[in-house]
C-alpha cells in the first residue's frame, strides 16, 4: 500500500463514525430535487428540451451538480478544519508521509464521497426511469472527474485562507453562479454571451454536458473530448496549486 492509501484509510475510518449524519441527506436530497424540479417545473415545460422530457433532461445536470457540490463541501470546511481547528494535517505531516500523500489521500476520500452521493442519485433517478442508455454507467467515472476538477482547486483555495468567512464568500460568489449558469436547469444557449463564457470557463458545464450525453445516449462528438481535456486540465492545475498551498502551510 502506498502512503496516500493510509491517509484514505484514515478518512474512511473517520467517515465510519460520521456517515449516519449525512446518509439521509445523501438519499433524500436527490429525491426532493427530482420531485421539485423534474416533476414540478417539468409539469410546465411540456414540450421538453431538445425533444427530451424535462425530467430526463434535468436529471444528468443534477447528477453532475451533485458531484460538484459534494466535492465543494468536502474540499472546504473539512480542509479548513484539518489546518485550523483539529489540525490533523499537522499530525499527518509529522508521520513519514509526504505532502502529496496527505493531499492525495484526502482528495481520494473526497472522490469516494462524490461517488457515494452520485450513486444514491443514480438509484433514485433509475427508479423514475429517466435513463435512456447503457452509457449511464459512464456517469460514475465522469462524476469522479468532475469531483476532482472541483475538489482540487477548492482545496487549494481553502488552504490559502485562514478563516471560514472566505469559504462563505466562495459559496456565494462562485458556487451559486456556477450552479445556475452551467446548463443544469436550462440550456446555456438561453444565456447572454458574457454568462455563457462563465459556463465555459468553470468546470461544471463540461461535466453536465458529458453526463447528459451519457444518460440520454447522445453522441457528444469532438466536443466530448474537449470537455474531458478541459476537466482534466482543472484537475491537474488544481492538484499543483493545492500541493503548493499545502506545502507552504505544512512545511515552513
Amino acid at each position: 500500500m502506498t502512503p496516500s492509501a493510509y491517509v484514505l484509510e484514515y478518512h474512511l475510518v473517520n467517515y465510519r463514525r460520521t456517515w449516519r449524519s449525512s446518509a439521509l441527506s445523501t438519499l433524500v436530497l436527490p429525491l426532493l430535487t427530482m420531485l421539485g424540479f423534474g416533476l414540478g417545473v417539468g409539469g410546465y415545460v411540456r414540450t421538453g428540451i431538445d425533444g427530451v422530457a424535462y425530467l430526463d433532461w434535468i436529471v444528468p445536470g443534477l447528477i453532475a451538480s451533485t458531484a460538484a457540490q459534494t466535492a465543494l463541501g468536502e474540499a472546504s470546511w473539512p480542509v479548513m478544519s484539518s489546518f485550523e481547528w483539529l489540525k490533523v494535517y499537522f499530525a499527518q505531516a509529522a508521520a513519514p508521509l509526504r505532502v502529496g500523500d496527505i493531499l492525495g489521500g484526502h482528495l481520494a476520500f473526497m472522490i469516494f464521497r462524490v461517488l457515494l452521493s452520485v450513486t444514491a442519485f443514480l438509484l433514485v433517478a433509475a427508479a423514475f426511469g429517466t435513463f435512456r442508455s447503457i452509457w449511464t454507467l459512464a456517469v460514475l467515472p465522469l462524476s469522479a472527474l468532475v469531483g476532482l476538477a472541483v475538489a482540487a482547486p477548492v482545496a487549494a483555495y481553502t488552504a490559502s485562507v485562514r478563516s471560514d468567512s472566505y469559504l462563505a464568500i466562495l459559496f456565494r460568489f462562485a458556487v451559486l453562479p456556477m450552479s445556475l449558469f452551467s446548463g443544469v436547469f436550462f440550456p446555456i444557449g438561453s444565456l447572454p454571451e458574457p454568462l455563457r463564457w462563465v459556463a465555459w470557463a468553470l468546470p461544471l458545464w463540461h461535466g453536465v454536458d458529458l453526463t447528459r450525453a451519457a444518460t440520454l445516449g447522445l453522441d457528444p462528438g469532438a466536443a466530448g473530448w474537449w470537455h474531458l481535456l478541459y476537466l482534466l486540465a482543472w484537475c491537474v492545475a488544481g492538484w499543483f496549486l493545492a500541493h503548493r498551498r499545502f506545502q507552504r502551510r505544512l512545511v515552513f
Partner: protein, 307 residues
C-alpha cells in the same frame, strides 16, 4: 555511538526574522535533552527542524545520521512527535486515534491494535479506550498524544512543552510516565519553560535566548556555573526595595533588586541572613533557599517579559 541529533551552526530564518541563529547541539542515545527558553527563543523552530517539517535555512543538521532535507520521511518514520497543541482526532475513539496513526507508519493492523492496547495501558487510558476523545480532560488528551507519539516505537521522542496548561496532578502523571520512558532508554528531547520540569526530566539542557544558545550543561552544573549555592530572598516593608541595595553591599556575590523583594546570591544563606540582621535592616520577611534552575534561567535570559 553517533549522536542522534547533530547540529552545527543551525539557522532558521523567516524573511528578515532570524528564529534560530546558529546553534550547535548534539544529543546522544538514551539522553533526556531539554531546550529551555522564554517564548520566542527559537525552541519550537528548532524542534520543527529536528522533526523534519521545517527545512533549515543554513548550517548542518543530521538526525539519526540522515539529512532532513533529503531523508525526511525515513527520519520521521523513526521519530515520535508530541506537539505543543493536541491535534488528536476528536471524532475517533481513543483507541482509533492510535491505530489510524500507526497505519501512517505502515504498521500492520493487528500489530497496531496490539501496540495501541499496550500504550493505553502505559498512559493509563485503558478504561477510556472505546470513548471519544472530545470529552477527555486536558491531561488525558496529553497522555493520549504522548501514546500516539510512541506508536511506531521511535528512536527519538520530541516533546514540545509536554505539560503546558495541565493542572499539577496531570503534570506529575505525565512526568512520571516520561521518566519511565527515560528509564527504558528512550531518547527524549523536550522544550519547556518550566524549570521544575527541566530539573525533573533533563540529563542535559541548553538555555536559548534570541535564537542562540546562552548556556549548556546538566541542571546541577548550570546552577553551579551561573548561580550561587543558596539564595536569600528579603522583603522590606518599604515602597522602594532599592533603597536597601546600598545597605546590603558586600554581603552577597550578586545582589538583585526586584520591585517586591531583594535577592542575595550567596554560598551560605544563614551566614548572609545573620549579617543582614547584624546590620539591623529588619526585613519584613526572609527566606533562605537553594539555588534553582529558575535563578539560572532568569539570570541568563533576563526578567523582561517576552510576549
Amino acid at each position: 555511538m553517533t549522536a542522534l541529533i547533530h547540529a552545527r551552526g543551525l539557522i532558521k530564518r523567516f524573511g528578515d526574522f532570524t528564529a534560530v541563529d546558529g546553534i550547535d547541539v548534539d544529543v546522544q542515545p538514551g539522553e533526556a535533552f531539554g531546550f529551555l527558553g522564554p517564548n520566542g527563543a527559537g525552541k519550537s523552530s528548532t524542534m520543527r527542524m529536528i522533526g523534519c517539517v521545517s527545512p533549515p535555512t543554513g548550517g548542518v543538521l543530521r538526525i539519526l545520521g540522515m539529512d532532513p532535507r533529503r531523508d525526511g520521511p525515513a527520519i520521521r518514520a523513526r521519530l515520535g512527535v508530541c506537539p505543543q497543541l493536541d491535534n488528536l482526532d476528536v471524532e475517533l475513539t481513543v483507541r482509533e486515534n492510535l491505530t489510524t496513526y500507526a497505519r501512517f507508519f505502515g504498521i500492520p493492523r493487528p500489530t497496531a491494535r496490539r501496540r495501541a492496547a499496550e500504550l493505553l495501558e502505559f498512559v493509563q487510558l485503558t478504561e477510556r479506550a472505546g470513548s471519544k476523545v472530545e470529552p477527555l480532560s486536558g491531561g488525558m488528551k496529553r497522555r493520549l498524544t504522548i501514546a500516539r507519539a510512541l506508536v511506531n516505537e521511535p528512536d527519538l521522542v520530541l516533546l514540545d512543552e509536554p505539560t503546558t496548561g495541565l493542572d499539577p496532578q496531570a503534570r506529575h502523571l505525565v512526568w512520571e510516565r516520561l521518566f519511565r520512558l527515560k528509564q527504558q532508554g528512550v531518547t527524549l528531547v523536550l522544550t519547556t519553560h518550566y524549570m521544575d520540569e527541566a530539573e525533573q526530566l533533563c540529563d542535559r539542557l541548553v538555555v536559548m535566548d534570541g535564537g542562540r544558545i546562552v548556556a549548556e550543561g546538566s541542571p546541577r552544573a548550570l546552577i553551579e556555573r551561573h548561580s550561587t549555592r543558596e539564595v536569600v530572598e528579603l522583603r522590606f516593608a518599604a515602597e522602594d526595595q532599592g533603597v536597601f541595595a546600598g545597605k546590603l553591599a558586600g554581603i552577597a556575590d550578586r545582589t538583585e533588586v526586584l520591585p517586591d523583594r531583594v535577592l542575595l546570591y550567596v554560598s551560605d544563606g544563614d551566614d548572609a541572613l545573620a549579617e543582614v540582621h547584624r546590620r539591623a535592616l529588619n526585613p519584613a520577611s526572609a527566606l533562605v533557599r537553594r539555588s534553582s534552575l529558575e535563578d539560572v534561567f532568569l539570570h541568563l535570559t533576563g526578567r523582561t517579559l517576552v510576549d
